[in-house]
């Protein structure tokens, strides 16, 4: 292009494109949305679909290669073998335990940061900063803390399921604090004063005013605490003793029997899909 460009003026062809974009907001939208959407569809949704499909393929027991013939063998295998079902049940149990413990710890903290504290911003930053500290290091920290010769000494519960639940709670707690804090902040001041002015005691105010805000916030936080616990395999390896979760099954089988690993990995996906559909009605998904 030979036209000299100055601020605000453009070459004729550029102006035509600009005019077109100005007249066609849909085109602008498509241009903004397409890169990320293409990336996420091609490099995230398509692989997830492939994984789902792989669960219905088989492995040649001699060569170990995948044979591309439809079979429900792997999925049936996972869902009917008692040992695997036990692992599924244990994993869901851990995920439920972690979620409950997260609510138990996050609730008083969020009530304090959102409704009582004079410096809510600072406190929330204090809670969130460790969210970004390395996942692996945080698990490692609990491995040190719970070691028989570690800081807790004889008081340590040792490695095992309790350690797994505590460590996972530690990992995902900020995901629960954040939506709770955000939900409660929205009612800082006026709502509760109104409730008090109208004669509600603190407990009544909590039950009728605070709780309806909390429910969708807890649901939003639990998507993370529940889902991330379901797929974990490193925490169990480091602080779980001999215990196994779904993630360990996937990890152990993925290089030798990918279809089986895929069938196991699909389970957390199914559980999460069911969970997301259930809580969609609470409006929690708008808060993710």
């Amino acid at each position: 292009m030979t036209t000299v460009r100055t601020r605000g003026t453009v070459a004729p062809s550029g102006r035509r494109v600009a005019a077109l974009l100005h007249r066609a907001p849909r085109l602008r939208l498509a241009g903004l949305l397409a890169p990320a959407l293409l990336w996420l569809v091609l490099l995230y949704l398509v692989p997830l679909g492939l994984l789902l499909a792989t669960a219905f393929f088989d492995t040649d027991s001699f060569t170990g290669r995948i044979t591309y013939e439809f079979t429900t063998e792997n999925v049936v295998d996972v869902l009917t073998t008692p040992a695997y079902l036990l692992t599924v049940a244990r994993t869901v149990g851990v995920a439920v335990g972690v979620t409950l413990l997260c609510v138990l710890l996050a609730l008083p903290l969020a009530v304090y940061t959102a409704l009582v504290s004079r410096r809510p911003g600072l406190l929330v930053a204090l809670v969130l900063t460790p969210l970004w500290a390395s996942y692996l290091v945080k698990v490692y920290a609990w491995r040190i803390l719970l070691a028989p010769e570690g800081p807790l000494g004889g008081a340590s519960p040792g490695y095992g399921w309790f350690a797994v639940i505590v460590t996972l709670t530690y990992l995902w707690l900020p995901y629960m604090v954040l939506p709770l804090h955000a939900g409660l902040t929205s009612m800082r001041g006026s709502y509760l004063e109104a409730a008090a002015d109208l004669g509600a005691r603190p407990w009544t105010a909590f039950r009728t005013v605070v709780l309806p805000v909390l429910a969708p916030a807890v649901a939003a936080g639990s998507v993370f605490t529940f889902s991330l616990s379901l797929g974990d395999y490193i925490t169990v390896q480091l602080v779980g003793g001999t215990g196994q979760m779904l993630g360990n099954l996937v990890y152990q089988n993925f290089s030798t029997d990918l279809p089986f690993a895929a069938a196991v990995a699909v389970l957390p996906l199914i559980v999460m899909a069911a969970y997301l559909l259930t809580i969609r009605r609470t409006g929690a998904l708008d808060r993710l």
Partner: protein, 267 residues
Amino acid sequence: MVLSPTARWLLRAAAVGVLTFIYVPLAVVLLNSFSASATFAWPPPGLTLRWWQVAASNEGVRTAVLTSVQVALLATVVAVVLGTLASMALVRYEFFGRDAVSLLVVLPIALPGIVTGIALNTLFTGFLGGLTFLTLVIGHATFCIVVVVNNASARLRRMSGTVEEASMDLGATPWTTWRLVTFPALRGALLAGALLAFALSFDEIVVTTFTAGPGLQTLPLWIFQNLFRPNQSPIVNVAAAVLVLVSVLPVYLANRLSGDTAGTTTK
């Protein structure tokens, strides 16, 4: 809030308790990296900088840090470009399927890393010729997009779209509008998002395990492989401390920059 002094006191005690629960393990890791003992000992028999020096000259650790930095930088660039564009679409436009797109952006960090990891692994090894440095970057960028989108969206929602419209009405092209109006307002939020994306990528291990090309070792992978080797434990402790610092500093900076409750993974 109308609360009795006792209730306030109880809430404050609970908050302090939870914050202690959050910070004690990290403090233990930091302290442990200065322990004078070559094996794990608690309390540390003495404090020394020796292991930091040993770690700094350790070939494996240095290579791993370098790899982590390269991957994180590239993943951040991709995430910032894609995330910025997507956030403008999500905040400034109403369109069919907007909620679905929002959910799709969050999904890579909301679903377990192992699912994302083996899904990408299946794609790369089965259809795209195997794992490389590039596949690792792609894997990381995929889950980093969300933090940029959230930071940029939060800022966009607070600034009115009318300034941009005025700019366009006065004849500015979309590019000029972006350069002179939108970008200057977004800059802080984008930098904050980029720092968080960097921190997220730098210490990720699960997706990394399944998407890193043969022979590639990021710092978390190095730690994981040496975790169960007793003679490496002092260096592992230092590497762990480095990971804590490298992820916490960007968040601190991001907080200063954005002025929002940065570090938000959720809106």
